[in-house]
Subunit: 199 residues, 2 copies
């Protein structure tokens, strides 16, 4: 017995990314002190989400309905599919509120080191979706890492036989970036991808 | 509808100390990906703890029983009471496994700025407990801050009429501490509280 309930809770909280044993204890105390306002609602939200959450069989997004709300949304442009590595990336793009097409979550990127091949990701399913009549463009919004760009190249090759545009998001100087502080690779990319200045 | 379940979950996670909106999203994704191993157990642990946890009416510790397991433990020395600010401090002392007496959680320290007086803390209850026949010593393990030390002085004065020892934990150079990097106050305290070297 002893304080096993709260020790058990601390042990579970410490497994969350970003929380270690010390911050898990702090979080547990905070929860206990805000029992009605935070602890019980969080318990309910977790139980509810654990029960209802599912992966959209179309795009790979997480939602409590399948197909997900994004795939069902009639106002979204069904001609464009944006390919992302993970649901977190989908959320990041949705937060910009500047994209109104559909998504395709790969669930990872190709990695020779980790032994992840195209069939471990949702690449075949992407090829099928991109082959549909309505699709006009596939945007590859994959990380600017070696594995991410390898994956982008692979998908580009794989979709080449289809008569659709395959584009990649731009690489260059981030907004607010000082040239002086940028790494050589980014600066090189930014120079190579230079564009005519409008005006 | 949309992804309201998971958005609600992220909103609640972001209220935990140490988690911001971004790390709450990461935690939520991690939970969804480890539904059976982490999400459901955490939901159960939260619901269970929210239901059972209570403040020990004797010492102020958190436990699912009242009096708490520490106060009930027959092997602990009932002659010594260690006064701490918060339950987190009690846990910290318990982790050292070097103290076998009882505790008294004040629930804060005196603070003129925040308008916290002795009656807002569990000081009167401490005076009652310390007056019991069995009690021989009260150890003040309060933070080495201005408010913490004010509280220690106040409690020392208040318990002075009782024929018991009131002691404070030592202030000085922390284990592993380099003198060169210490602040003047700590070094001053360490010099003032110097002790004869045994041997």
């Amino acid at each position: 017995m002893a304080e096993s309930d709260i020790e058990n809770l601390i042990g579970l909280l410490a497994k969350l990314p970003g929380l270690g044993p010390r911050s898990a204890r702090r979080a547990a105390l905070h929860l206990v002190k805000n029992r009605d306002r935070l602890m019980s609602p969080l318990a309910r939200a977790l139980a509810q989400t654990a029960e209802t959450i599912r992966t959209c069989s179309d795009c790979g997004n997480l939602d409590s309905i399948d197909p997900c709300a994004l795939c069902r949304d009639e106002r979204r442009d069904r001609a464009v599919i944006c390919v992302v590595e993970d649901v977190a990336d989908l959320w990041a793009i949705e937060r910009t509120a500047s994209y109104r097409g559909l998504y395709h979550v790969l669930g990872g990127v190709l990695s020779a080191l980790d032994g992840i091949g195209p069939d471990d990701l949702r690449v075949p399913h992407l090829a099928t979706r991109a082959d549909a009549d309505a699709v006009r463009e596939v945007i590859l919004a994959l990380p600017a890492t070696v594995d991410g760009q390898t994956t982008a190249h692979y998908i580009g090759d794989r979709l080449a036989p289809l008569s659709i545009t395959v584009s990649g998001i731009a690489h260059g100087v981030p907004v607010g970036g000082e040239l002086d502080y940028l790494d050589d690779g980014t600066l090189q990319q930014a120079l190579k991808a230079r564009r005519p200045v409008a005006g």
